[in-house]
């Protein structure tokens, strides 16, 4: 005799430790299997785009810090690049290198958090996260030296960076560079061959090539599906054309590949930092002459960078006043979430949490 079953709605979040912020998944369940899902967000909506329309171009930088607060440096850079493109400002050599060093440290930092969070979602509660945080703190120490802040740095400015790094920065950075490979290997040994982790992530939540492109996924999510697309290589901004690095890609596009791509990207970021430390001019200007009150000419610009989460784009329309006429952020986290529904349908609730974790979102950027 067939058993009659009925679907029911399960609300995961908005306040739940596996939703990485205030995010709600309204899941239609058939027993333990997900039939349909609707992501609900907006709990952290602060109207940053609207706020930016009333602020000066330098005044917006603290707002960009609060987009993806796990990668403030990247947001700073993307904003400054957009303003520089509007104004036609050149950035001094030393500042370019400082920017690249900061942004790549930030990428390592954000990937630490992403990997720690995936492991958390898999049920390895706390321990891997603490390992990740151990090194993340060391990078924070460096950021604190440079900018005075540990999370929202407000470090870059149109035309350069706000201040030069102190004397003790470079020795501390070199020391960290020497330590990082050991840490990466440690994680690799702990996690990449861990049987439980493999069972939870291999062949789970497969994102095909076609689906990834069609859903406008970007960053590690796109690359895990086997597409060699990295804006640092494809459309180099700042001075990325001077560095040698590879673009790691996955094969199947499952949760493990998304983890693995991030793991490999940290190695590549380290390579870039090593090269930048060798090439950086000892002394020099760190900020070109820019008017205190920026009034870009009438026009519009869309610039994009490869942030730790994916393609971070800033669209600015200027009407020659001190504040932008329209300010739009292309948020990789929000758009990567488009894939979520296709990924989780048919999987069990515990897998859905891991799949969600592997997309790696930051609610500050999703809701803006």
């Amino acid at each position: 005799m067939a058993i009659n079953t009925e679907t029911f709605i399960l609300n995961i979040g908005p306040v739940h430790m596996s939703t990485h912020g205030v995010f709600r998944m309204k899941a239609v369940m058939d027993g333990e299997v997900i039939v349909d899902i609707e992501p609900v967000f907006g709990y952290l909506h602060r109207g940053i785009e609207k706020l930016a329309e009333q602020r000066t171009y330098t005044g917006i930088i603290p707002l960009t810090d609060r987009l993806d607060y796990t990668a403030s440096m990247s947001n700073n850079l993307a904003h400054c690049l957009a303003v520089e493109k509007l104004m036609g400002i050149r950035v001094p050599e030393r500042a370019e290198y400082l920017r690249v060093i900061m942004v790549e440290l930030q990428r390592i930092c954000a990937h630490f958090l992403a990997i720690g969070a995936i492991l958390n979602d898999c049920g390895a509660w706390g321990t891997p996260m603490m390992y990740m945080f151990r090194e993340r703190e060391k990078i924070f120490d460096l950021f604190e030296m440079a900018s005075g802040q540990r999370l929202t740095y407000n470090y870059m400015r149109p035309g350069g960076v706000s201040q030069d790094v102190p004397e003790e920065f470079m020795p501390a950075l070199k020391k960290l560079i020497a330590q990082l490979p050991g840490y990466f290997e440690e994680y690799d040994q702990l996690l990449s061959k861990n049987e439980i982790f493999l069972a939870r992530t291999k062949k789970i939540g497969i994102l095909t090539r076609e689906m990834a492109i069609n859903s406008s996924a970007s960053g590690p999510v796109l690359r895990a599906s086997g597409i060699k697309w990295d804006i640092r290589k494809a459309d180099p901004y700042s001075i990325y054309d001077r560095f040698e690095f590879e673009i790691p890609t996955g094969e199947t596009g499952d949760c493990f590949d998304r983890y693995w791509v991030r793991m490999q990207e940290m190695w590549q970021s380290l390579r870039i930092i090593e090269q930048a430390v060798k090439q950086i001019p000892e002394k020099g200007e760190i900020r070109s002459k820019v008017p205190a009150l920026i009034r870009p000419p009438v026009g519009e610009v869309y610039t994009r960078i490869e942030s730790p989460k994916g393609e971070l784009g800033f669209y600015i329309v200027s009407d020659h006043s001190i504040a932008p006429y329209r300010y739009h952020v292309r948020s990789p986290c929000l758009i990567n979430l488009t894939t979520l529904r296709d990924l989780v349908i048919g999987w069990k609730i515990a897998d859905a949490i891991v799949i969600f974790g592997s997309i790696d979102i930051c609610m500050g950027e999703v809701d803006r």
Binding site: F41, S215, S216, R326, D367
Partner: protein, 146 residues
């Protein structure tokens, strides 16, 4: 290095196929009539020499007289990009055809514009507010909203 295609060049290519579809073209962008937006986008996505398979971004700007919707397209295959725009003059009930049929990624982007700018996308599978709650009055990113 991604090549930014000149709007004028693309407009010349599209000309014979879509007469009267292109309102304006400059080095930065092409402006397409909204009635023919879907057909033009379909061609841009599927023609082998352009093949814009990746939709980077959609956004809208309020110019009081009209709304301008801006699409950023990227081609992985040829590594080039293009900005396509369309305009919508009706302020009370602006409607633009949805491109979700071509790119699934447009889903949340169009919902965001609907929520904050109040532009309706005809043919969107699930058009409702994304950040603000149902029942919120007005659309904050419009220039006449405070």
């Amino acid at each position: 290095m991604t090549v930014a295609l000149s709007g004028i060049e693309v407009a010349r290519q599209l000309g014979p196929r879509f007469p009267e579809a292109i309102i304006e073209s400059s080095n930065q962008a092409i402006v397409v009539k909204k009635e023919q937006l879907t057909a033009v986008m379909d061609y841009l996505k599927n023609s082998p020499e352009l093949s814009f398979s990746f939709l980077s971004d959609i956004t809208a700007t309020d110019y009081f007289d009209y709304f301008e919707i801006t699409y950023q397209l990227t081609s992985f295959e040829h590594n080039h990009k293009l900005t396509v725009k369309t305009r919508c003059y009706d302020r009370n009930k602006p409607v633009v055809p949805s491109v979700t049929g071509l790119w699934q990624g447009a889903n949340f982007m169009e919902r965001e514009i609907f929520d904050l700018m109040g532009i309706e996308f005809s043919g969107h599978p699930n058009l409702k507010r994304i950040f603000l709650w149902e029942g919120f009055a007005g659309h904050p990113l419009r220039k006449d909203y405070l």
